[in-house]
């Protein structure tokens, strides 16, 4: 229809009332030594070595940063194997055989309040770096790099919006760990020197606001605000969250830090708590399996490194149809389609959606402009598509295709079911050539 589409059915209602299964029975856990951001990596353990929960087992190396890898269970190292990463790449993984005792690594002892009070900015950066914390909202960007910014930060925004439909990871985390998230926020504020902290959640989940507001009461010596932001999509997009939480408009292409703001996903804030207070890396996360291709959709709380095939089995396996399955890691708007279910739960993996393949026929574009009206970054997808068809580099550039955040709204809204988002990606690649 000829209108701006802002709201998409979010399917969370069904998901969020389901219980969470705490799964600790995995025989083997897999830890990728490389990923999209870090093309190189190595393990620092040898086969047969005994490791404990929270012990360092390797390092991933990116262009200008590195990320330690920690074991999330105790047990023996039993070699390595190739697995599929949630991004779709095949990566090498260190395998730990789980002895199911969950013995904690000796170094993982809590810090006292005095110790924390004495921490300097440099200490924080080191702690966060050593904990391997990265953007758990899905970006996977190393958190310590964000802390190293030269720009003065006045506000830390905690992003609990999770605007993709079907995902409930952050939702459950806030419900269960509100206190620690707020505590994590106070550490993030101390680490950055920010005076103000804001946690943004969707308006339509008053329960999240409640728990966070309650948690906030225990930290009254910090200026923390729980903000209820819009229910639209993509309200969880970093720049959108900043705008609705602080009113600051950060133009695309600029770093929020230049405007004195920095954003962390709520799961990352929880990671702050774990690293600073408990000297622990993130070891667990919420992970859901849903979609019409799976027998009984379920929510899990699992150790990072758990093979997803275990969870698929727990969810009753695939529905027996002759249809092809679409395997989506992430949300239905922006997730990655995988060609194999041989994946492991990583820090940034939020959910697996399994759909029966449905081929949607496309019709000719009728210039209705719904895609133009709906684009959150004010692009004109239909014009970019036409320019791409003409292979007109100048026009594609002038129409600003590089601003596209691949949110998927244009494809979602198109009455002709044209796959505009994919065309945007192709156009981006085309002008790079």
């Amino acid at each position: 229809m000829i209108e701006k589409t802002r709201y998409i059915p979010d399917g969370k209602k069904e998901r969020k009332n389901q219980p969470v299964i705490h799964y600790l029975e995995a025989e083997y856990l897999y830890f990728p030594t490389t990923d999209l951001r870090c093309p190189a990596g190595e393990s620092c353990v040898v086969d047969g070595q005994y490791v404990k929960v929270g012990e360092l087992i390797g390092t991933r190396q990116g262009g200008f940063f590195e990320q330690p890898i920690h074991s999330t269970v105790s047990g023996y190292i039993v070699g390595s194997e190739k697995k599929v990463h949630s991004s779709g790449q095949t990566v090498d993984c260190v395998i730990v055989q789980n002895d199911k005792k969950y013995v904690l690594y000796e170094n993982c002892v809590s810090r006292t309040e005095e110790e924390i009070d004495a921490l300097t900015k440099e200490d924080y950066i080191k702690i966060i770096k050593d904990s391997g914390l990265s953007g758990l909202g899905g970006s996977g960007f190393p958190t310590y790099i964000k802390l190293e910014t030269k720009h003065p930060i006045h506000t830390v925004v905690g992003n609990g919006v999770e605007c993709e439909p079907h995902l409930i990871s952050d939702y459950k985390l806030i419900l269960e760990r509100a206190n620690r998230i707020v505590e994590g926020l106070t550490y993030a504020m101390r680490a950055t020197g920010a005076k103000k902290g804001i946690i943004a959640v969707k308006k339509k989940y008053p329960e999240l606001y409640e728990v966070l507001e309650n948690a906030r009461q225990s930290f009254t010596h910090f200026d923390i605000e729980i903000k209820r932001v819009g229910n639209h999509y993509p309200a969880g997009w970093e720049l959108d969250t900043i705008k609705s939480a602080t009113g600051i408009k950060v133009p695309q292409g600029k770093l929020p830090a230049e405007y004195g703001v920095t954003v962390f996903n709520v799961a990352t804030l929880y990671g702050f708590y774990r690293a600073v207070k408990r000297r622990m890396p993130i070891t667990e996360r919420f992970f859901s399996i849903s979609g019409d291709g799976i027998k009984s959709p379920k929510n899990f709380q699992v150790r990072i490194g758990t093979p997803v095939r275990d969870l698929i089995a727990l969810a009753g396996g695939y529905t027996e149809t002759d249809k092809n399955k679409v395997l989506i890691c992430g949300g239905p708007m922006m997730g990655n389609a995988l060609q194999s279910d041989d994946i492991v739960v990583t820090k940034t993996a939020t959910s697996l959606i399994i759909l029966d393949e449905e081929v949607i026929p496309t019709e000719p574009c009728i210039h209705c402009a719904s895609c133009v009206y709906s684009c959150p970054v004010d692009l004109q997808p239909v014009q970019i598509m036409n320019a791409y068809k003409e292979r007109d580099k100048d026009a594609i550039n002038a129409l600003g295709v590089n601003k596209c955040i691949e949110c998927g709204l244009c494809s979602f809204t198109c009455p002709s079911k044209i796959h505009l988002t994919e065309t945007m990606r192709q156009a981006k690649r085309f002008i790079k050539k």
Partner: protein, 362 residues
Amino acid sequence: MNYAKQTSPYIRKETSVKRMMFDVLIALLPLVVFAVYRFGMDALVRIILSAVIFVGVDVVAALLKVKVHPSVKDKKERFKLRWKTLTINHVSAPLVSSVIFAMIIPSTLPIYVLIVGALFGSIIAKAFFGGLGSNIFNPAAVARVVIGLSFVTAFNYVGIDVTSSATPLAAVNDSLASIPAMLESYSLKDLFLGNIPGSMGEISSILIILGGLYMFIRKAADFRVTVSMILSFTVIMFVATLTVKPIVDNGQIIETVLYQVLSGGLLFGAVFMVTDPVTSPVTKPGRWIYGLVVGAIVAAIRLFGALPEGVVFAILLGNIFVPLIDYYKWSKNKYSWKFILGYVVSLSVVSLIVLLALGGIK
């Protein structure tokens, strides 16, 4: 079981071109019923014939467009493969064009003239451009303009009392001053209800407005073009009226302007024709500009020209501007102060020219 290769997003909104087209048809339905009620069999025959031609041509064009692999030799097989590519849009979209075309012709139009028009609209204006979504001119408008130019004498309008006369508008072409007199034979209420001579679907303002509201609520059409077109037309007509002394003296300005808006297919064109998304620009400001252009052209034709089918002409002329409005170097979907200022200034300048051309305020 295999894993399908797909890319995000994996979910789609439940909208379709089909629904949009059917919404337009629903909006047109009261007009069709009214036309049949007013003009009886004459209207029914013409509507059906128009539909058959438009849909028929669209289907044939679609079948011919399909490229069947040369390895398929059997004629029947080839036809089957082609047939499979047809969708409901090959019926619904031309149906919309056909009904719109039928609504802008008089019920007495000779059948052969109608056939010529419909063929022109469906073949030249649409099929040659590549079918649904690819045409740059409104097919119904092309059809109407072609026969309007070629068969001038074929246009006779049937009124309730008058059996044959010009449309109310044609009678006032030369002089705005005669509108108050016209208003004596056809009141504003008649214009609203459709008690006037005219084309089949253009006469009942109230049904057009209702249909329009339905479309706008269902988001099957963009209100921006309609509002902008009526706005610019009204402003220019208002200014023009100020130049006619008797009207100003008698305080009949509002009535005169309203008369202009309600007569001569302006509303029908503004609601059902300029809103055709295929031939509209794709940005919000663009659609405002497009409405302004078409509205101004209609006003100019009415004031300075002698064409009874001013609205369809204006729409075709407006269509020419669409690629220009959409040109990538300046098309933006954001309203800016520059745009608002540009809109107001353009409208003022056009109004001023009209004012001066008509000899200034009396």
